[in-house]
């Protein structure tokens, strides 16, 4: 039976089947045959989180850079979409305290253009920060990128004629279909998958494995780190832009630095260095955070008020779950492996995933 399943044709059929199931679920949801607005929103949010998490995994899991700047890059993408897609007629009402910059007040761009522009701006900013910051190692890089992400947020709070400051920008046009989110997620993640599977992706992995050896093999460390960092920022910007259109509003507090920890959690959970693991974790964590929401509501059992249930308990439970995961599943769901039919069938038939080791592995 295993041999049959390993057959290439059967795998192809399974893949096509999976795509059909996936597409029909989205179509049914999209045409409002099943689910409600709440479920659609969570799924769209999950798709966005998947893009940003995979982009963070590209930098952290595949290139081995400990970067925590994701929220800042998302903010750039989100604000670009917000600033350029709000209809001109609605602008004056939004910027009612500080008028919008007269040049920007004239420009309205189609969503896709604004979205790509947001990604490019995020990548450009990443390039500029990367030049000094990527010379730093692990912990220092994390601190520098985290600080940077906060700087972006504070700058956005203060350049009121461009971003409307703490009031935020409302009335961002929303998208009529889930395919915008899922389509862009598929394209973005597909691109990063192909990148990681290319010669450049191998160079990224080499840097993760051993910087000294990678450099000795002729890989320009700095160039490749900047490349990975900027591409990661580009897709974080895309994710931010999608977030803006999903929520129809942006304000600086959406991009407070704890947001980055959500993505960090997702990639640790899914497996640093596993794209499929990251995608699964994005959906599990995003919907999990919603499901756990009832912990935040006051709860009465038989007329007795349980004092534990109050706003904030959700995050306590979430943190405990996280600790358990880190203690018992340190490599996350998939480690550095990718999901494949073989892995699934091995798991289903109770067979331990065959390790790729030869006999007599050396001690090291």
């Amino acid at each position: 039976m295993m041999d049959k399943l390993n057959n290439k044709n059967n795998k192809l059929i399974l893949n096509i089947l999976l795509i059909i199931i996936f597409a029909s679920i989205i179509i049914l949801l999209d045409t409002k045959k099943i689910g409600d607005a709440y479920i659609r929103r969570i799924l769209n949010l999950s798709a966005i989180y998947a893009i940003v998490s995979v982009s963070m995994n590209l930098v952290n899991g595949f290139t081995g850079l400990f970067s925590l700047g994701q929220a800042g890059f998302m903010a750039i993408g989100a604000y670009t979409v917000a600033i350029f897609t709000v209809p001109l007629a609605a602008r004056a009402k939004i910027f009612y305290i500080t008028p919008q910059n007269p040049v920007l007040a004239q420009i309205e761009l189609p969503f896709v253009i604004a979205l790509i522009l947001g990604g490019l701006l995020a990548a450009l900013v990443a390039l500029l920060i990367g030049l000094p910051v990527l010379r730093l190692k692990s912990d220092y890089l994390a601190i520098a990128t985290l600080g940077f992400s906060e700087i972006i947020r504070i700058v956005f709070t203060n350049i009121k004629s461009i971003t409307d400051g703490a009031l935020g920008i409302k009335n961002i046009p929303t998208m009529p279909t889930m395919w915008v989110f899922f389509g862009i997620a598929i394209i973005s993640i597909g691109f990063m998958w192909l990148l990681i599977d290319s010669s450049y992706g191998r160079a990224f992995k080499a840097i993760r494995e051993d910087e000294v050896a990678a450099e000795a093999m002729g890989i320009n460390l700095f160039k490749h780190k900047v490349m990975s960092f900027s591409i990661g920022a580009f897709f974080a910007g895309i994710g931010g832009g999608l977030l803006a259109t999903l929520f129809a509003t942006v304000d600086p507090n959406q991009f407070y630095f704890p947001v980055t920890y959500n993505f960090l959690l997702i990639i640790v959970l899914g497996g640093m260095g596993s794209i499929s693991g990251t995608i699964i974790a994005s959906f599990v964590v995003t919907s999990g955070l919603e499901i756990l929401r009832f912990f935040d509501e006051p709860l009465s059992l038989f007329g007795l008020n349980i004092p534990l249930f109050r706003p904030g308990l959700r995050m306590v439970i979430f943190s405990i779950l996280l600790m358990v995961l880190v203690l018992f599943f340190r490599n996350g769901l998939l480690g550095q492996k990718e999901l494949s039919w073989k892995l699934i069938f091995d798991l289903l038939s109770g067979k331990k995933p065959r390790k790729k080791t030869g006999e007599g592995g050396a001690a090291q």
């Binding site: 691109f191 192909l194 990148l195 290319s198 010669s199 450049y200 191998r202 160079a203 992995k205 080499a206 494995e209 051993d210 000294v212 050896a213 990678a214 450099e215 000795a216 093999m217 002729g218 890989i219 320009n220 460390l221 490349m227 591409i231 550095q336 790729k356 080791t357 030869g358 007599g360 592995g361 050396a362 090291q364």
Partner: protein, 256 residues
């Protein structure tokens, strides 16, 4: 012709002089060795050649080109490849991936055409794979191509590290203690292996080694370093009988 010329190189770390006024000329097509007691500055000399350190004084020439102060990746591109004293493979990647990574430095496609699988990039990738498999085949490692690097037996890991260095299309190979941790029979095997790759790939080999049998057998010229100073150079026999070398490194036989 000298392939590598180290000219009056001094390397200081704070107040410590690790290498003092070193002069070495490695001739094309030969196997030459650098020996000396622990802490003599051998690996420091290698790190200066490969650009890990920029020397305090002096210059390094490769094929008459001054390469002093270039970064390691640029020096590798010029044709100098190295291995490390404590093996530094890309441990969690496969044998083939390790070799493919060493081909990346000669890539012509940019990341976009590589990612979008443009025909010319696909062709380049295919050629890279063919070349890598051919190399693995020549070194009898092809059967292991899908194994994870750290799962290989120790001797094969050493071999893979040398293969990876060769994959950069190097002309000069620097081996830092290739026989470390090997038993006598493995060492003998390594000796013929080094000879074979030198002939097959038209290499110049410059190595650091502690196994005196190996050094004496295959090196055409030996340099002896002690406390950062070159104390002797010459053929195996010349060095073996040099009084200073015996005192500093080889040791005096008590009953002699």
């Amino acid at each position: 012709m000298s392939v590598l010329k180290i000219n009056n190189v001094t390397m200081q770390f704070g107040g410590v002089t690790a290498v003092n006024n070193l002069n070495i000329e490695v001739q094309e097509g030969r196997i030459e060795a650098l020996i000396g007691p622990n802490g003599a500055g051998k690996t420091t000399a290698f790190n200066v050649i490969t650009g890990v350190y920029s020397p305090t004084k002096g210059n390094v020439f490769y094929k008459n080109e001054n390469i002093t102060g270039l970064t390691p990746d640029k020096i590798t591109k010029k044709g100098i490849a190295r291995t490390f004293q404590n093996i530094r493979l890309f441990k969690n990647l496969t044998v083939l991936e390790n070799i493919l990574i060493a081909n990346h430095l000669r890539i012509n496609s940019n990341f976009l055409s590589s990612t979008l699988r443009m025909p010319w990039s696909n062709k380049e990738e295919r050629q890279m794979r063919e070349k890598s498999e051919m190399l693995l085949d020549k070194l009898d490692l092809l059967r292991l191509k899908n194994e994870i690097a750290h799962s290989l037996p120790y001797g094969e890991q050493r071999k893979l590290e040398i293969a990876r260095a060769l994959a950069t299309d190097a002309d000069l190979l620097l081996l830092d203690e290739p026989a470390a941790g090997m038993n006598p029979s493995e060492t003998m095997e390594l000796s013929s292996f080094i000879h074979n790759i030198r002939d097959e790939f038209h290499l110049t080999i410059f190595m650091i080694e502690h196994h005196m049998d190996l050094v004496m057998e295959i090196s055409e010229k030996i340099y002896v370093l002690d406390f950062g100073q070159l104390i002797a150079e010459g053929t195996a026999n010349e060095v073996k009988n040099d009084q200073r070398v015996i005192e500093a490194y080889l040791g005096v036989e008590e009953d002699a």
